[in-house]
């Protein structure tokens, strides 16, 4: 994108596949229409993009697919407003806009040789799913991989087919949970809030990185649990999901103190987050 004079100009992409994760959460698989863009587009896990439904506007989501999967990108969103409702109206074969990738990323190279604990809640799995697949595609570079994922109800779990895949492969410890009352008769996972279930799972903090994404209340209660388990603040990573428009450090919307989430983030360690003014 940087070589284009108009920094607000999106690439055109075709919707190749649509998966309804829940009644209002949808994943789109996108293929860039321009051959050169398709070949040259690269990103790192954790980066985000601005996605447009022409006529409605742009919305910000992380790139949910893994950088190791070439030829397409995926985004996952809940239809909550004008743009996301318009994106949901689009069908396979339709065109939308994508500009990016923007922001920093998870330092995956630094995680090599370590164990990883992913902790996600609800629709906050996509920012971690990119890292999960990135690491699973390079599986021999990491030690134990634990995924603790929860949602309010079974219906609210996203990437259900991939949860099964992770459950079935022998090299991932998947702990899935739903809030009390959110389980149906055939539920084979845990029942309880994510922080509690994480504590029960007692992953070792020894040589381990924790990656946490979820609603603010989940993060608030998860951090003390990780601390009790022995994780230090610089071994815990999260993303700040601030509202953005330009994604380029200009529109003045996403700052937390003097940190511009779109440029300095969205990925931060718990140590960095704790040093910020509590305004997110």
């Amino acid at each position: 994108m940087c070589d284009n004079k108009n920094i607000y100009l999106p690439h055109l992409a075709t919707i190749e596949e649509i998966v309804d994760e829940t009644p209002d959460v949808r994943t789109l698989r996108l293929v860039f229409q321009d051959e050169q863009v398709r070949e040259n587009f690269s990103f790192r896990a954790g980066q985000f993009a601005e996605y447009s439904a022409f006529g409605a506007g742009e919305s910000t989501f992380c790139i949910a697919s893994s950088p190791t999967r070439k030829g397409y990108i995926e985004c996952c969103f809940r239809a909550t407003g004008r743009v996301t409702e318009s994106l949901r109206q689009l069908e396979v074969g339709d065109t939308m806009g994508v500009r990016g990738p923007y922001g920093n990323s998870f330092p995956i190279e630094e995680f090599e040789g370590k164990s990883l604990v992913f902790v996600a809640g609800g629709i906050a799995l996509p920012p971690l799913r990119t890292v999960i697949w990135n690491c699973l595609d390079l599986r021999d570079r990491f030690k134990d991989i634990t995924i603790v994922y929860g949602a309010r109800t079974e219906a609210d779990l996203v990437y259900k087919r991939e949860l099964e895949e992770w459950q079935e492969r022998g090299d991932v410890n998947l702990v899935k949970t739903v809030d009390p009352g959110g389980n149906g008769p055939d539920w084979d996972g845990k029942v309880g809030f994510v922080p509690t279930i994480l504590e029960e799972a007692t992953p070792s903090a020894q040589n381990t990185i924790a990656l946490v994404c979820g609603p603010p209340v989940m993060i608030k209660f998860t951090l003390p649990v990780l601390e009790r388990l022995g994780f230090t603040d610089d071994a815990i990573y999260t993303t700040l999901e601030n509202r953005m428009k330009c994604g380029l450090g200009k529109c003045g919307r996403c700052n937390v103190g003097n940190t511009y989430v779109c440029k300095d983030g969205p990925v931060f360690t718990a140590k960095q987050v704790k040093a910020m003014p509590q305004e997110f």
């Binding site: 229409q33 006529g55 409605a56 909550t80 509202r243 200009k250 003097n258």
Partner: protein
């Protein structure tokens, strides 16, 4: 050799520039107020007036198209906007508080990613500043380190002279070039003295001290005290020469329309509202705090400059009488 220009020649200069196809933006009487507006002739120049709004629209329009789109059977076609089509512009009689602002804003529009919509207009604009000889109660440029005779940001600077006319001082190469290229409108300076500059009443502020207080007082009762009155109308941001927050919106229909960049304000309630409904700045005091922090701390942290030129427009226009200078005075006295 110092130069001067008469009022009549200033108006003729405008006519000449217009004739050659340039856009000339200058104070113009618009009903009961003066505004910086594109002129149609030199006669429209309102020399004594302080424009109600700042001059930032010259570089950063209130609303501008950044692309257009059309949908047909073959898909979506997106048309770029070429900043090369922007006209050469002369911003004439910009007050020092307005002339200084774009040189501060250059930093945010050119760090990492270049916003050519802003930067191309900057490249194509020559700023002719005008010293202030009068100030009102809201003016506080001297308190933030500028002055009524400050040439910062101007390419050419005019100072009113006793008996009429203006001393013309080239500040940059661009200004020098204008002086040389338009030599017929300028004379060698005579003995006329410059009129004394205005004297804004506000006391000087210790900006370092203010920043240091802001560094340590993110949580302070002051923010609630001030924001009890703030209506969140955004007038302060829209009138400010340095506020630059914007939104990106689509207009038209799904079939055909334009994507536009529009001014926005951190005082608006939904400015930071998340899709989930969570709003990090859910109270007006948090929004007002961000406004002060951005101007006197964050912009300094990032770009080493203060995002305020002391024009006083936010004070004049605030419907509930919030006075940024009084807020700064209070912080300065702590």
């Amino acid at each position: 050799m110092p130069k001067t220009i008469t009022e009549q020649n200033l108006r003729l200069l405008v006519d000449t520039l217009l004739k050659e196809g340039a856009r000339v933006v200058a104070p113009k009487q618009a009903g009961t107020m003066a505004l910086y507006e594109p002129l149609k002739s030199g006669d429209e120049l309102a020399l004594g007036a302080l424009p109600r709004r700042s001059a930032k629209e010259t570089f950063f329009p209130l609303c501008e198209t950044i692309l257009t789109f059309e949908k047909d059977k073959g898909g979506v076609r997106v048309n770029d906007v070429d900043p090369a089509s922007f006209p050469e512009t002369v911003l004439l009689c910009a007050r020092p508080c307005d002339a200084a602002a774009p040189s501060i804003l250059d930093a945010v529009f050119s760090w990492d990613y270049n916003d050519e919509f802003y930067l191309e207009r900057r490249r194509k604009t020559t700023i002719i500043g005008l010293a202030c000889t009068t100030a009102d109660d809201a003016c506080f440029c001297t308190a933030v380190g500028l002055s009524p005779a400050d040439t910062r940001g101007s390419d050419l600077f005019l100072t009113p002279l006793e008996g009429g006319g203006y001393a013309a001082q080239a500040v940059t190469d661009k200004g020098k070039e204008l002086l040389e290229k338009r030599a017929q409108f300028f004379s060698d300076a005579g003995s006329a003295k410059p009129l004394p500059p205005a004297e804004p009443a506000g006391e000087s502020l210790d900006l370092e001290k203010i920043k240091s207080w802001l560094d340590n007082n993110f949580e302070n009762p002051l923010w609630t005290e001030i924001a009890d009155r703030c209506a969140g109308c955004g007038a302060c941001a829209f009138l400010c020469p340095a506020c630059h927050c914007f939104d990106i919106v689509d207009e038209g229909t799904e079939a055909k329309g334009a994507r536009r960049k529009s001014w926005d304000a951190c005082g608006f309630a939904k400015f930071t509202n998340h899709a989930s409904g969570h709003n990090p700045r859910d109270m007006q005091n948090k929004r007002y705090r961000n406004r002060i922090m951005h101007k006197f701390k964050y912009y300094g942290d990032k770009f080493g400059q203060t995002l305020c030129t002391g024009c006083g427009r936010c004070i004049r226009a605030c419907p509930v009488g919030i006075d940024i200078k009084a807020v700064l005075d209070e912080i300065n006295s702590k």
